[in-house]
Amino acid sequence: MPEVRVVNLTKKFGNITAVDNVTLTIRDQEYFSLLGPSGCGKTTLLRLIAGLIEPTSGEIYIGDKLVNDVPPEDRDVGFVFQTFALFPHMTAWNNVIYGPKVKGFDMKQATTVGHEVLEMVKLHERLDAYPGELSGGMMQRVAVARALAAGAQLLLMDEALGQLDAKVRNEIRYEIRKMAKDLKLTGIHVTHDQSEAMAISDRIAVMRKGKILQVGTPQELYMNPDSIFVAHFIGESNFLEGYVTGKNKEGNIIIELREGTKVEALNGSFSEGSNVVLSMRPETLIVEHGLQEGQNVVSGVVERITFEGSSIRYEIRLDNDEMVIAIKPTLSGDWLEVGERTKVFLPVEYTRVFPYPETGLKEELSVA
């Protein structure tokens, strides 16, 4: 049940900096996710915390104790590996009681601990089967039970749900969160799946290229992303390039988009002439029959329609040749057709403006 703190942590592999001067605090009993595209350094950060690799510089604290020189076996962490890493030469049961046994417990004590954790993960059958004979979901449960039986206070999960079927995954991720909460554990969950991170985390750190871009609750990250990348990686966003031509009386800025269309946007801190990117969530755009010309109304042609069940997704090519995506509830009933000319309203209150990235918009959005 410890707090985990890393300070100015850096890990280099040769010329590659996998974790770049990261400072982060994960609170006691928090369920925390490290989210980012593959190669962003999230797994390296998790392994540094577990002590499986040694940092190039910086400090790691677990519950106020500096653990840089503490070997992994003494950090009281439970690590659930992406491939589960169940020992192939031991049965499920022997895997589970491995931790107590290597800590010198006798058979009786180990058995007691084993039964306790198996009760928690609701695993009662097939305990004498070898890992090779178990299904993905079972292996997952055994891996978690094994980590818990070793007396872990800190549960580290490295893409541990990635190998499971979608259905099993959705079911098991809530169970793990609930278990961590019931046992008052601190959990750190590494994933590249933003919907998984959003669904189970108290807070999320979004990582890219070894750095942490933003830390916040799922809602904060969705509603107030403070970078183009976070706006793009969490949920979905439209990005329109333009430059600031001035301010209006309310203090909002006026942006001239490509081909001269002018729109109003929140945030007055940009000076005239600066290049910016206007970002809007697809569900905030309004596309309706009978929209009138006016402020922040642009027009275009519906190019593609995707029916997604509860919502319909329209891809619209604006007259300045940029594409925007608008998502409408299916039950609104006001449906458009492919090839239809339409107007799109961009409500000012949902606009977010970012400075135009130095490396270009395309590079900024790339998840590589």
Binding site: L52, E73, R75, F79, F81, A85, H89, V102, G104
Partner: protein, 552 residues
């Protein structure tokens, strides 16, 4: 023109009849050339056994010698594991850049023809110029201790090679998981890594055992009056082959029969019981095991193993080079280069050795490839293929002199085959498992998906082999071929058994050392030196080839 031939062959290969014929002939060739002759031959002269049974003294001598063979082989294989695993661990896990050099050095005793190696050890341990000079007397004189040292030396690289490979393939994730669950490094190694690597340890043990039981040439050189099974057969040959052929045949058949049966028995026992042998996770003592995991403990282990390697293995193996250099400014060197006197025989024998080695290598590739594919892809059905896999190993564990005896009887009793053909057949039988095993392992590493993808894209079976399997396994094929070649060049026992007219280089060297042919110390040292030199060149090629393989 060649394109049209490949096209025709490609088309042919998709016909079931052709596939059937190719795989069936691979199996027929295996049984008729490799498997049956080395076993069936002795039964053709079974009747002669009565002549030795009439002489209890000789029977006892044979049994004693055979017992020595197995005691030495089992002890040496166990010692090899004890010394070889820490060494392999150091090479596979160490971070020092000098380790790749150590890795290469570890192969040296494997690649030097054992006879030259034996002579080198003889000079080092008991010659007047070796370590003995420091103490004024022979430290280890010829006899069982020197035989043990010799066998330990040449089988050590086998264990290191197998274990390094296994450690590199091993998923370190298991060990990491064990650490996060509270195990100290030593505990993790003991409870997780070693049990997972048990199959590799078993095969390393079998290979070391087989090498030791088979070796003849170098053992003769260092044995003195000591006899093991192979030396006994050779001694009987010099003693009785001419004076009492019936007794000679009886003794040889008797000894070969016991050697073959016991070897195969031990091999099957280890193969069957080894995997079932479970070391239960007994109670762990965290404090003690933690101490064994300390960096100081690890460092002292590494120091000890490197000291053992340099002092007991590398230095004695290369000691002959020193004497060979001494020979360079002397007339011996000019004689050697100009090939005068006994040296003309030397170059001829070298030519014969490399010629037989080359032929055997080519034959192995032709008949071994389909066999490897049968094993790797279960082409003969799952059950039959695994039986085949097991049988392929038999020539490996049969002591090569016994194999030669039996194979020689088998072929000469029905056909009057010339000695050269017999020599090739014997070497083919001995080297066959090496090529097939390494190729089968390489083919197994290729996912069947890739072959299937190639088929769905329109390739015929032979096309799949040309475009997918061959490019992905060509380095394994090359290193397998080099292994076959060096094994053949090194082989003494079977050569002695099948021919007395033809002299390969190691046989000639044995004759020089035993003074069957009068040769000076300088002659012998220089002759061994050349063999070491050529082996180095082969080792260099091997390293370049295997080094390049890693990009896949």
């Amino acid at each position: 023109m060649t394109e049209r031939i490949t096209e025709t062959l490609d088309k042919l290969s998709s016909r079931n009849v052709v596939k059937y014929v190719v795989y069936a002939s691979a199996i027929i060739i295996f049984f008729s050339l490799i498997f049956i002759p080395p076993i069936a031959g002795i039964f053709l002269k079974w009747d002669n056994i009565q002549f030795i049974l009439e002489q209890p003294a000789l029977v006892n001598r044979a049994l004693g010698a055979i017992q020595n063979s197995f005691i030495i082989a089992l002890t040496v294989a166990a010692l090899d594991l004890i010394a070889g695993i820490p060494m392999a661990w150091l090479i596979a896990r160490g971070k020092n850049r000098w380790l790749s050099i150590i890795d290469t050095l570890a192969d040296i005793p494997f690649i030097i023809p054992t006879t030259a190696l034996g002579y080198s050890l003889l000079l080092f341990w008991s010659g007047s110029g070796g370590v003995s000079a420091l103490f004024g007397e022979s430290i280890v004189s010829t006899g069982w201790l020197l035989v043990m040292l010799l066998h330990f030396t040449f089988s050590f690289p086998v264990v290191v090679r197998v274990m390094v490979g296994a450690l590199l393939d091993y998923k370190v994730e298991f060990e990491r998981a064990s650490r996060t669950l509270g195990a100290a490094p030593f505990t993790a190694m003991r409870t997780v890594t070693f049990p997972v690597l048990r199959p590799a340890m078993i095969s390393a043990f079998i290979l070391a055992f087989a090498r030791s039981v088979s070796e003849t040439g170098a053992t003769i050189v260092v044995a003195g009056v000591f006899e093991n099974g192979s030396v006994f057969i050779q001694n009987i040959k010099t003693q009785f082959a001419v004076s009492n052929p019936a007794l000679y045949n009886g003794a040889v058949v008797f000894a070969s029969f016991i050697l073959i049966t016991v070897s195969v028995g031990i091999f099957i026992t280890i193969r069957l019981l080894g995997p079932k042998l479970k070391l239960p996770l007994k109670r762990v003592r965290p404090q003690t095991e933690r101490k064994l995991s300390y960096k100081t403990a690890e460092r002292s282990r590494n120091t000890v193993i490197l000291a053992v390697f340099f002092a007991l293995i590398l230095l004695p193996s290369l000691f002959v080079a020193l004497s060979a250099f001494e020979a360079i400014p002397t007339p011996t060197f000019t004689n050697a280069i100009s090939g005068s006197g006994i040296w003309s025989d030397y170059w001829q024998s070298l030519l014969l050795s490399y010629g037989v080695g080359g032929i055997v290598t080519v034959l192995n590739i032709i008949i071994g490839l389909p066999a490897a594919i049968i094993i790797a892809r279960n082409k003969a059905g799952k059950f039959m293929s695994s039986i085949f896999d097991l049988l392929v190993n038999v020539p490996l564990v049969v002591p090569s002199i016994a194999l030669g005896v039996s194979l020689g009887i088998f072929w000469t009793s029905s056909l009057a085959l010339p000695d050269f053909i017999l020599l090739v057949l014997a070497h083919l039988a001995i080297t066959y498992p090496y090529f097939v095993r390494s190729m089968a392992a390489a083919v197994e590493r290729i996912s069947p998906d890739m072959e299937e993808a190639s088929r769905t894209l329109g390739a015929k079976p032979l096309g799949v082999f040309r475009t997918i399997v061959f490019p992905l396994t060509k380095y394994s094929m090359l290193s397998g071929a080099i292994m076959v070649f060096t094994r053949s060049v090194s082989e003494t026992g079977a050569t002695l058994a099948v021919t007395s007219k033809l002299q390969t280089a190691p046989v000639l060297l044995v004759n020089w050392i035993k003074q069957v042919v009068p040769a000076s110390q300088l002659d012998i040292a220089l002759a061994s030196g050349f063999l070491v030199l050529f082996s180095f060149i082969i080792l260099l090629i091997l390293r370049l080839v295997v080094g390049r393989e890693e990009k896949y």
